[in-house]
Every structure is written in C-alpha cells, then in structure tokens.
C-alpha cells in the first residue's frame, strides 16, 4: 500500500504535526517572530515554546536577535540544514503517498 504509515523513514524531529507546520510556515515566509508563529499556528505560548526549543537545539531553526529601543526582538528562520531536512521530509512523505 502506498499510503502506509512508516515513521521509521521519516525525520523524527519534523514528523510531529506542530513542528511540521512550523517548518512549513518558515519555509514559505522566510523570517518570522514568535507572535506571528503563534498567530499562524493558533497554539499556546507554552506549546509553541517547547517545540521551538527543540528545533533551535537541533540547529534546524536559527534565531536572530535585534537590539534597539525597548525589548530586543527575536526573528526565527530555517537554517540551511533545517531547509534541507524539511525538503527531504516532504520528499519522503510524497514517496510514501506515491505522489
């Protein structure tokens, strides 16, 4: 069967719905803030924060901090390894679905 679920072949870090959505949003958008991600994903601060920490720790997401007036702002984007991993993940999904 072509649509058989075989998670063993998939990147475990990206094969999680929230993290998949984060990676897809960043792949399309480029750079974004925590607030924009939260709004797009419609999840709680705590939930998003825990997934972001995993993706940042793995090196899939890079953080750019901008100092200025008021609080420093953090901008998140996919790193090159993150982008490559996301492409490979999408390709693996497509193979599994016979697309």
């Amino acid at each position: 069967m072509t649509n058989q679920h075989t998670p063993a072949k998939l990147d475990p870090l990206l094969h999680q719905p929230v993290r998949t959505r984060i990676a897809a949003f960043l792949a399309a958008r480029g750079e974004t803030t925590f607030g924009e991600l939260k709004k797009a994903l419609e999840i709680s601060d705590g939930n998003l924060d825990s997934h972001m920490k995993k993706l940042v720790a793995s090196g899939y997401i890079i953080v750019r901090k901008v100092e200025g007036k008021g609080r420093p702002q953090s901008f998140y984007s996919l790193s090159e390894p993150g982008r490559t991993a996301f492409r490979a993940y999408v390709a693996a999904l497509q193979t599994m679905l016979g697309l």
């Binding site: 649509n3 094969h15 897809a24 399309a28 958008r29 750079e31 924009e36 497509q94």
Partner: protein, 351 residues
C-alpha cells in the same frame, strides 16, 4: 493531532499557503504615497510652467531631479514608518514583502526614467529603450525570487537603456541607433546571460559581477557603435562652396555639377506648417519665419541636395539616416478682447 503522511502533507500545504500570503500593505502606505505622489505631480507641473531656468533642457533636468528626490524621500518615510509599526507589533517583514518593496521602488524608478526620456524624445523613439526597461524590470523581478543572479541581468538591461537614452539625448549617437541597441541587447546580451546563470559561482564575487557587467556592456554597445560608424560613414563633399544668395541668384549656373551651399547663421527659413484637426486647421500655405542658429552647409548634385548636410562645427551627416526629432512641448490657447482667439505652440527640435 494525527501525523499520518496524508495529514502531514495537508498541514504542510496549509502552512506554506499561510506563509506565502504574508504580504500586507499598511494604511499609512496608501496615505504617504497617495498624498505625497499627488503633491509631487502638482509641484512638477507648477515648476515646469514657471520656466525658472533658461533652457528647456535645464528645466526638465531640474523637474525630474526634484521629482526623483521627492519620491525617494516618500519611499524612505514609508519604509521607516512600516518598519517601526512592525517592530511595535513584534512582527517581521516577510521575504516576499521585502522583495515586493524593491519592486515598488523599481516601478517608481521606471516612471521617472520614462518621464524624463519623454521630455526629450517622442514616444515613438522611446519604443526600444522602454522595451529594455520593462524587460529589465521583469528580469530583476525574477531575480528577487531566484537563486540565479537574474537581478544583475535586469539591472544591466536598465543600465543599457539609460546609457542609450543619454547618448541619444546628448547627440553622441543619433536616435536611429536606439533600434540597433534593442537588437544588440536582445540578440547578443540575452544569450550572454546564459553564462551568468549557468555558472553563478564564477560571478558571485564583487569582482566577478563587476567584470561580467563591464564585459556585457562593452559587448552590447560595441556593435551599436560599429554599425553606427560603418553605416553612418558620410564622405566629405568636394564641390565648390557658395553662399546661399549666390545660389539663389544664379540658378542656371549651379544646375549642373557638385556644389556646397552655405546657409549662414541668421538666415530666415520659412516653415510651411500644415495642421489637421477637428476644430483647428492650417493649410500649410502661410509660412512661419524661422531662422537658422548655426551655419549649415548642404551638398548639391545637379542643383538638388544629395543628402549630405553639415550643421555648425559638427561633421557631415546623412540627412535621411540622421533623423530629425521634433515634437510639441506645449500648446496655449487664449481668447482676449484685444487679440481675439490665438494659440501659442511651443516646439522642440533636437537638431
């Protein structure tokens, strides 16, 4: 939340769609560009009507320089305001939006460049440079969303158009050569871009880009100059130089052989103007007294011009190949009790 491959693909599509549709124009952008743009147009029209500077050239250069400066200030103010608002709301400017802002500036630049060109050239003469500007903008746009160095291709096409217009306006090249430029850019320049896109790493450094740009411009302009000089070669006439009064007084004497008639500066030249229109007409029988502002020499063969002409200190040129750009600058129609109805037509001759 399930994570079957089909669900995951759906999630990815939804988020890619959400990420791509991240472009938003802020309210202040409409206000700043709308009101600022209207003010710039009003000011340019008013400044043009005052004729503060002595010549048509100076006036137009000043008008478009002021217009370009004012629009740059508007662009800067809008950019800064947008950045501040986004920062306040802890939002970023997406990649797509950042590229679209550049396109906005390109569009403003094209408006200024074509407006400036049309101040000195008839629209028909600008066909080829405008085509280059449009295609340059299209290539630049492709480059904004591509890893290939296509933006450089677009910039080079725009630069070629600007150089072409400048050379024609400053009379280094006749207007007719702008069509050679169009042929050269499309026929030679575009195939050369294949090297740039095929081997982007070779041209990725500043030195590589500069080298390619200079090489490309030289390769594109060299044939234009060659064709101009080869096709535009006009041999110097060898006949005896006679003054206009001598020629008109001894028509029979100069009806055979080769002569050069000198028309001195200040000579009156009747312009036979005809006009067709729904509410105004001129049959062309009533001459308008123009006068020559530089000595003109005309080569004659058997009493008729053979096409070679020389104006002032310039070299001999071919009458037919040179092109004689002349266009209407302004029309003012009035009705007063003293003069009755009358109209003033201002023409500009770039020769």
């Amino acid at each position: 939340m399930t994570n079957t491959p089909a669900t995951q693909i759906d999630n990815i599509h939804a988020m890619l769609d959400s990420g791509h549709h991240s472009v938003r124009i802020e309210k202040h952008t409409f206000l700043i560009w709308g009101l600022g743009g209207a003010a710039v147009v009003l000011f340019m029209e008013w400044f043009g009507a005052q004729e503060f500077l002595k010549t048509y050239w100076q006036n137009n250069i000043a008008i478009y320089a002021i217009g370009a400066g004012a629009l740059s200030i508007i662009a800067f103010l809008d950019h800064r305001k947008t950045r501040d608002i986004r920062k306040e709301r802890a939002e970023s400017v997406s990649f797509t939006q950042a590229q679209l802002i550049k396109l906005w500036w390109v569009a403003v630049g094209l408006c200024i460049l074509t407006g400036f060109g049309m101040a000195f050239m008839d629209l028909a003469l600008l066909t080829y440079p405008i085509s280059l500007l449009i295609f340059g903008a299209v290539f630049y746009t492709h480059g904004l969303f591509s890893r290939q160095p296509l933006s450089l291709s677009g910039v080079l096409m725009v630069v070629a158009a600007v150089i072409g217009i400048s050379l024609a306006v400053s009379k280094v090249l006749p207007y007719m050569t702008l069509q050679y430029l169009g042929i050269s850019v499309f026929g030679i320049g575009l195939p050369l871009f294949a090297f740039l896109t095929d081997e982007p790493k070779r041209f990725s450094t500043a030195l590589g880009k500069t080298g390619f740009s200079l090489g490309w411009l030289m390769t594109v302009f060299l044939p234009v100059f060659l064709v101009h000089f080869i096709a535009g070669q006009v041999s110097t006439p060898t006949g005896m130089v006679i003054v206009l009064s001598d020629f008109t007084a001894n028509k029979a004497q100069y009806s055979k052989g080769r002569y050069i008639v000198r028309i001195p500066s200040g000579t009156k030249v009747p312009l036979m103007v005809s006009l067709e229109g729904k509410s105004l007409a001129l049959d062309g029988n009533a001459p308008i007294a123009a006068h020559v502002t530089a000595d003109i020499q005309v080569s004659l063969k058997d009493g008729k011009p053979d096409g070679r002409v020389k104006a002032g200190d310039a070299g001999w040129t071919d009458w037919d190949k040179r092109g004689w750009p002349l266009w209407l600058k302004d029309v003012k129609a009035e009705l007063t009790s003293e003069k009755g109805p009358h109209a003033v037509l201002k023409l500009f001759a770039n020769f």
